[in-house]
Symmetry: C2
Subunit: 147 residues, 2 copies
DNA sequence: AAGATTTGTAAGTGCAACGGTTACATTCTG
DNA sequence: CAGAATGTAACCGTTGCACTTACAAATCTT
């Protein structure tokens, strides 16, 4: 299993919004064009980002605005907003191990801390990258193209 | 999305094999009892662990043996054996972003390294835990129960 | 050699999430 | 009001997961 493409799509959206904000009206239609998917998919993701308080979306007129600086939004914020992982648990624990079995009734408590540490390592790394990193990286790529 | 319960089941299996190896014949049936699932599920997972070279399984007579010391098998080895993540990629990248769009044609290259770093942080943490840690943790839990 | 036990595997079921799509009400601007 | 955009509900097809039944292949015991 993989973490939903909604996560990478969200990052793609943020990049587009900033890159094109002065040049085009960045609507769900426009974004769907760059991402090559359906506008409704985009709107659903925008909805999640809005509910998480990362952006505002203007109805009718269209237009997406960040509520914070690019440097103040990390990959982790986006990952959380998207709900990329059910109940916040990366690992799916098999339910109801046999309580009659000594191993069965203790395995959950035993594994829990270690699995949390593993997931935590991933999430901590996610906190290191901001949307500003993404934006400046894209600027470099585009400059390279225009050489 | 979550990482398949086959991963936690595999860890459960390893724990049982070691805890019960002198006391019972540890068959797929026996394991299914502790884990509370179907023997065929267990056999499939055993098959993957075997293909990865972590264990040998005796047909007919039953019996599971590790090919290395408990301390020589990490959570990462198990995770890899199980194929918990498609193509080895934790993140699902939306396919075919629009190559006509400057962002679309560069987003993949831009994100790739960062996503790999995030996945790498998780996998490195996985390498820190061995089956021996699991075994000794279980021993402690059981000692606690018998107090 | 026969019978019992166990693994290996194919085939099929039900379910849930994902990505996609159509359709339409709602909201805002001009 | 007309036009443009978002918000959502409803539905589809596909895929992977967990589970189950069934049976062939391998191995041990007697």
């Amino acid at each position: 299993m993989q973490i939903s493409s909604r996560f990478t799509i969200a990052l793609h959206i943020f990049t587009c919004v900033d890159v094109f904000k002065d040049e085009y009206k960045v609507t769900s239609e426009f974004l769907a064009g760059s991402i090559n998917t359906n506008p409704v998919i985009i709107r659903k993701i925008l909805s999640q980002l809005k509910n998480a308080g990362l952006i505002t979306v203007a109805r009718g007129t269209g237009g997406i605005k960040l509520t914070r600086e690019l440097s103040e939004i990390t990959f982790f914020d986006v990952y959380e907003a998207i709900g990329a992982v059910e109940n916040g648990d990366l690992f799916h624990f098999h339910d109801s191990p046999n309580p009659q079995c000594p191993v069965g009734r203790n395995i959950h408590a035993l594994l829990d801390g270690k699995l949390k540490a593993i997931q935590g390592a991933m999430e901590d790394e996610m906190r290191k990258y901001t949307l500003l990193d993404l934006r400046s990286g894209m600027t470099e790529f585009l400059a390279e193209e225009n050489k």
